[in-house]
């Protein structure tokens, strides 16, 4: 367990040394400046416009930053043979993955809290709390998928492309499903096959389109049951992707 804690601490330190907080501050400044600009030009609902645009920008940026931090950090370790050095220790490979993931999970929590601070200026605290909790769940999934992509693909470009594809698909899958089902009756065999294929893809993706909803900041926050469901979904998906990453890592002949 000591190995896991040490590896997680090193991972967090490394992310901080990569000026993670500076990057987060830059995003916040840009977002607040944009929100202020919108406040000046909007005729009505200026607070809602500011909140919605800022929340959407912060959410997307947080996912992007987490993916970059994980991919760049693991790529450097892989290229410098640090991964092989760590795996040469008398510890199970699963502890290596666990240590890395816990480190990145701490980064996700830190980033979500930092990004929630400017939103507190515009929205009610209950909504901001729910949004932050949901963002943590979402970022944990992104971090787990990033770890999986790096361990499996081992190339920065292909890993980033895969993560971007996964994230965009997971955010838009419900809409794709609805469009696939809305074919004029009677549906042909091809229509039914397309709809079933869309359903099958949706089954193995997390429901990111329902998480971290901007409406919580503008209207009413979700109930505790909804947040618990998102936490369960996040835990389940992290377990799924983590097991897939371990499956691949155990099969590598390092």
């Amino acid at each position: 367990m000591r190995f896991v804690v040490t590896l997680a601490s090193i991972t967090v330190l490394e992310a901080l040394r990569e000026r993670l907080l500076w990057l987060a501050a830059l995003v916040i400044v840009a977002g607040v400046a944009l929100a202020q600009f919108l406040h000046q030009v909007a005729i009505t609902e200026s607070r809602e416009i500011q909140t919605a645009v800022l929340a959407a920008l912060l959410r997307m940026s947080a996912a992007f930053i987490v993916a970059i931090v994980v991919v760049s950090g693991m790529a450097r370790e892989w290229n410098d043979k640090i991964t092989e050095l760590l795996l040469s220790f008398p510890v199970r490979r699963s502890l290596y993955v666990l240590g890395k993931f816990l480190g990145y999970a701490a980064v996700c929590g830190l980033l979500a809290v930092v990004f929630a601070v400017p939103l507190a200026l515009y929205a009610r605290s209950s909504g901001v709390l729910a949004w932050t909790a949901s963002l943590v769940c979402e970022l944990l999934i992104v971090a787990a998928v990033s770890v999986f992509c790096m361990l499996t693909l081992t190339r920065t470009l292909s890993a980033l492309a895969a993560i971007a594809g996964f994230y965009l698909l997971a955010r838009s899958m419900s809409t794709i499903q609805v469009i696939a089902q809305a074919t004029p009756e009677p549906a042909s065999l091809a229509d039914r096959l397309v709809a079933r294929a869309a359903d099958a893809i949706a089954w193995i993706l997390p429901a990111l389109d329902r998480m971290t909803d901007t409406a919580w900041l503008i209207q009413a926050p979700p109930g505790i049951g909804v947040l618990a469901a998102f936490a369960a979904q996040s835990a389940l998906y992290v377990a799924l992707v983590g097991a897939a990453a371990l499956f691949d890592l155990y099969r590598k002949d390092l």
Binding site: L240, A243, L246, D253
Partner: protein
């Protein structure tokens, strides 16, 4: 990189992978995606905002918006989809989509063949007027949808004055080289259905005498039809 056999993977990892996959599928399958309800269809943003959101790809955005609009209030297996939609909003969305992609035919197909065929005469008429308005912006490309609108007015709404008005709009505005004879001559057939045999005879006679009929087959067909009308007028047969 060489790979070790699957047996090198601990059973715990395999079991976790299988259990998590089953759980994930169960969770997602228990929350199927549903089409937005009619009341969830919001008003569209301004065309300028949509152009901004398209990042320089207005045609792609228009296609996606059309598919998204089609999914609103759609329920698989429901014989009467779209009946609860706010047609003001539907029309506004169709308008915006055509602004983004003026060459696109999908919005007018949807207006004349999907949204105009709901069992609500007021909504249906609204869509037919939308088709007429959009036809006037580009008659030579959009005439098929006004022709279909005429058929909907005649056979579905049984509103012959509206059908005649739509057919007149089509005839007056379309280039004869763009639309086939059957579409350009719809006015005469609607007049005949309205028992306006004198008017129908005058219109068909006008087509024949105009000298614009290039096709001999088309000319023969109209002449035969004119003879039938004249025979009905001369015989004083009861009108249909």
């Amino acid at each position: 990189m060489r790979e070790r056999p699957v047996s090198a993977v601990p059973r715990m990892v395999l079991a976790t992978l299988a259990a998590a996959l089953a759980g994930q599928i169960a969770i997602r399958a228990s929350h199927p995606a549903r089409a937005p309800h009619a009341e969830e269809l919001a008003s569209p943003p301004a065309a300028a905002v949509l152009r901004l959101a398209s990042f320089g790809e207005p045609i792609a955005l228009a296609k996606l918006l059309m598919l998204n609009l089609q999914a609103a209030d759609y329920r698989a297996g429901d014989p009467l989809p779209y009946r609860d939609l706010d047609y003001g909003r539907v029309e506004a969305w169709l308008d915006r989509i055509l602004e983004l992609d003026p060459a696109g035919q999908y919005p007018l197909l949807a207006a004349s063949r999907i949204y105009a065929e709901v069992p609500d005469p007021a909504k249906s008429r609204r869509m037919l007027e939308f088709v007429r308005r959009q036809f006037l912006a580009d008659p030579d490309r959009r005439w098929p949808w006004l022709a279909h609108a005429t058929i909907v007015a005649k056979h579905r709404l049984h509103d012959l004055p509206l059908a005649l008005s739509l057919a007149e709009t089509l005839e007056r505005n379309v280039d004869p080289r763009s639309a086939p004879a059957w579409a350009r001559h719809m006015r005469a057939f609607v007049l005949e259905d309205m028992n306006e045999l004198e008017a129908a005879r005058a219109v068909i006679g006008g087509y024949i005498d105009s000298g614009r009929l290039q096709d001999a087959q088309e000319r023969r067909l109209l002449e035969r039809h004119l003879q039938e009308i004249e025979a009905r007028l001369a015989g004083g047969r009861p009108t249909r």
